[in-house]
């Protein structure tokens, strides 16, 4: 009995992370109608940011108080999600690519100054009759200005906004973003796994004869709190608009709902929630490059169980997977653990194709 309780708690802890990633996916799905394969990786950036801000300076951190670091990291996550939508998603949903053109050209120009000043031309220009060494700063600056101008023009006049929303490029964008963020994280913080201790890490209490970790309690509790907060949000003004777009985007736009702004808010919320999920997960395990890999798959399964629309269904789905895995591993065999958990999902979907959502949604694919 004690063992069973421990298995259920461990399952709820894992399931809570799956649920939060699933909720983040659903929020973005509701507004942009794209499954975001980079969701967990975007959250991982926030987790690394939290570790960086709160970490021991001797280990590469800044050393700020834990709670301040968490607040800043979650704020960063929301802004990061919004920027991603603003720069990358908008042009693929029929909106202007000017922000992308401005930011890309300035960013590229900024990077170019340093590279051209230090390294000169890239190695594949070895055939070009100039010195292999870096250019003087003023030359590098002039070249970078040219780069800025050409990049801006190229994006503005070549990368045309899509005239019609197409899911496939958006899907590819999220897959590409997933890989790109992995590289960014590795370059910024290295690939060595890190301990990311929260104030409750390693602390336990006894419930009868069962020892429970406070990290388990916090993860489950915060998961529930975020799910409730999101449910409440969907009854707010912006939440209703988001639901309207999810139900019928065309009609919602005709009614004057600003789809771009709704989408931007959804990306901010989704990344915030994914950041919270990854912070909770990595503070009770280990922070590393691969932390997002397992969660994104389970998060998607949770979203499937919620029919990609139902917040409650998604949250319940994530918990079901977590507890199913833990019980399958503990009561039957750990070698069958992933199989049995997925089998549960298949059974649920066979019985209720819409998952735990009240209504199945027809989608054109």
């Amino acid at each position: 009995m004690d063992q069973l309780l421990q298995q259920i708690v461990a399952g709820l802890e894992s399931g809570s992370s799956y649920s939060l990633i699933g909720l983040a996916i659903v929020v973005i799905m509701k507004s942009t109608d794209v499954p975001n394969f980079a969701m967990a990786e975007m959250g991982l950036v926030a987790a690394f940011m939290a570790w960086f801000l709160s970490g021991d300076p001797a280990l590469g951190g800044v050393g700020w108080p834990f709670w301040l670091a968490i607040v800043l990291a979650l704020a960063f996550a929301a802004v990061f999600g919004a920027i991603t939508q603003f720069l990358l998603v908008r042009p693929l949903t029929g909106l202007s690519n000017q922000p992308l053109a401005v930011c890309a050209s300035i960013g590229l120009g900024y990077a170019s100054v340093f590279f051209l000043n230090k390294e000169g031309l890239p190695t594949f220009f070895d055939w070009f009759p100039v010195t292999d060494e870096g250019f003087p700063l003023w030359v590098a600056t002039i070249m970078a200005v040219v780069t800025v101008a050409l990049t801006y023009l190229m994006i503005r006049y070549w990368v045309k906004p899509l005239s019609k929303v197409d899911h496939f490029p958006l899907l590819l964008l999220t897959i590409g973003l997933n890989f790109a963020l992995g590289s960014v994280i590795e370059n910024l913080w290295g690939s060595t796994p890190k301990r990311f201790d929260a104030p409750w890490s390693g602390e336990t209490f006894d419930l009868g004869n069962t020892r429970i970790g406070w990290d388990q309690v916090v993860t489950i509790g915060v998961g529930i709190a975020i799910a409730i907060a999101m449910a409440l949000f969907f009854w707010s003004k912006w939440g209703v608009r988001m639901r309207a777009i999810a139900e019928d985007g065309h009609t919602a736009r005709l009614l004057g709902i600003n789809a771009g702004r709704v989408s931007l808010i959804a990306w901010a919320i989704g990344t915030f929630v994914a950041g919270a999920a990854m912070i909770l997960n990595t503070s009770s395990t280990v922070l590393e490059l691969g932390s997002a890999e397992g969660l994104i798959l389970k998060g998607f399964i949770a979203a499937v169980l919620g029919g990609f629309t139902s917040l409650g269904g998604t949250f319940a789905g994530g918990l079901l997977i977590g507890v199913g895995e833990a019980l399958a591993g503990g009561q039957i065999s750990t070698s069958l653990q992933p199989t049995i958990a997925l089998l549960v999902v298949v059974v649920v979907l066979l019985v209720a194709p819409g998952g735990f959502s009240r209504t199945a949604r027809t989608r054109e694919v």
């Binding site: 390294e119 690939s191 691969g290 397992g294």
Partner: protein
């Protein structure tokens, strides 16, 4: 027309500058991972660089018995590099006296913490042998590639090094679960692979294992458990070949000591969800646990055992325990990591053995790729493997044909190579003879001093 030309020019500039912005980060203030393309070992010309200053090396480093007989008199090199080699052999440049060797390492990605040390060890060994004048008139050029611990990349690297770089042999290529994927190419090319790190022995003509396999290390862990009085043993392994080797070890060795196997639990690769396996092992009442997981998972298992107030003996193979370093134990709280056991394929990096001190002197002076590694124990491992390789090379007496390579290597069963920081290497003919090393040691971690101590000598498994 003008507009088209402008567009083409714009494209060219943009592509060039994207590459510039994202490209080579050789500069030392860049990201954490140096660009693999810039990692070729010293070109042959560089091998003529003067030997390291004496004060950089411990005195015994210079002792002749420590080195193969490469720094030897002219009469040992009657006709220069490859004097006894008939015809052309891939990777043997007799004219310039250069032998090209290769290695694929996880320099970036999930296993970078090991890969950085692993490649550094090989580079140190190559630089050392070249600085001492090479062997029988040959110097060595090392070509290596970063595989990011990804199977596809490792296969690509091996193909590239065979077909484009024309390597004569591979040394110390790492990535236990992935190496077998490269065997078909290695067999087809006939290129020897010396000292791959820790895969199971698959009886391939070209492959020589210079370290005890994980199965053997696991068996030795169980021998140690028995000596400590354990009677109920459990295993937690990944759901892949790594875990399979641990389960084989427990099946083979527990009966030898009359121990009861109370649990065999699996954990998904790359998963942090170790709790079900941990809870099952706790429920089984095991007093000793053999784990075959990655470093992160091992750290989590130790933490969760500790949180549950469960305190069995826990032992892992050297790679996953990170024995000699902090890669695994650094992920667990100190109280959980205290007393953790790691099998040893070679000496610990803080050993006072002359050979290790010799390596340590060079490691501390080394500033090439991987110099920032947090796991110098991996550097010592491949340094030792490389030293054994050069000893074998010296025994070829100028005949660098693969026939002679195999004949000489397989004759080691009668004349083993003795590298102080490794088990005795006594390769023999197939089947079974290419598992050249037998026996492993056991080390224990002390959280208070943050050090590993060898607690059991290098011994073969009990039978």
């Amino acid at each position: 027309m003008m507009s088209k030309l402008l567009k083409v020019l714009a494209l060219l500039f943009a592509v060039a500058l994207v590459a510039a912005a994202c490209g080579n980060d050789d500069d030392d203030d860049g990201g954490a991972a140096p660009a693999p393309e810039a990692t070729e070992a010293p070109a042959p010309e560089a091998t003529e660089a003067p030997a390291p200053a004496e004060e950089d090396m411990p005195e015994e480093d210079m002792a002749e018995e420590d080195m193969p007989e490469e720094d030897m008199a002219e009469e040992d090199m009657p006709e220069g590099c490859g004097y006894a080699t008939d015809g052309d052999v891939r990777g043997v440049d007799k004219e310039n006296g250069v032998i090209t060797i290769g290695s694929s390492q996880p320099f970036t990605g999930r296993a970078a913490v090991a890969g950085e040390g692993l490649i550094a060890g090989i580079i140190i060994a190559v630089e050392e042998v070249n600085a001492n004048g090479g062997i029988d008139g040959c110097t060595f050029e090392l070509v290596w590639e970063d595989d990011r611990f990804e199977i596809e990349q490792m296969v690509t690297n091996v193909r590239k090094m065979i077909e484009q770089d024309n390597v004569w042999a591979f040394v110390g290529t790492a990535g236990s679960q992935a190496i077998p994927s490269t065997y078909p190419d290695i067999e087809a090319a006939g290129t020897p692979l010396w000292g791959p790190v820790s895969p199971a022995d698959q009886d391939i003509q070209e492959v020589y294992l210079t370290n005890p396999t994980r199965t053997e290390q696991g068996r030795i862990c169980i021998d140690h458990f028995a000596e400590q009085g354990a009677t109920k043993v459990a295993a937690i392994g990944q759901d892949n070949e790594l875990g399979e080797e641990a389960f084989n070890a427990i099946e083979m060795q527990a009966p030898v000591h009359g121990m009861e196997i109370v649990a065999k639990e699996e954990v998904e690769v790359l998963s942090d969800a170790v709790a079900p396996a941990v809870l099952s092992v706790i429920d089984s009442g095991a007093d000793a646990v053999l784990t075959a997981l990655d470093g992160t998972q091992n750290g989590l298992v130790l933490d969760q055992f500790h949180e549950a107030g469960f305190d069995p003996l826990v032992c892992s193979d050297q790679g996953s325990a990170g024995a000699g370093g902090q890669t695994t134990v650094g992920l667990a709280v100190p109280e959980a990591a205290d007393g953790y056991l790691g099998a040893l394929q070679g000496a610990l990096p803080d050993s006072d053995m002359d050979f290790v001190q010799h390596w340590l002197g060079m490691w501390e002076a080394y500033d090439g790729p991987g110099a920032e590694s947090l796991a110098p124990n991996f550097s010592l491992q491949t340094y030792s493997i490389s030293r054994a390789f050069f000893e074998l090379f010296d025994r070829l007496d100028g005949d660098y044909s693969y026939e002679n390579f195999h004949a000489t290597a397989e004759a080691m069963v009668d004349d083993p190579i003795l590298i102080p920081a490794m088990p005795v290497l006594a390769c023999g003919p197939l089947p079974g003879g290419h598992g050249c090393a037998s026996g492993a040691g056991i080390s224990e971690y002390d959280a208070e001093t943050m050090t590993w101590t060898q607690v059991r000598d290098f011994l073969p498994p009990a039978s």
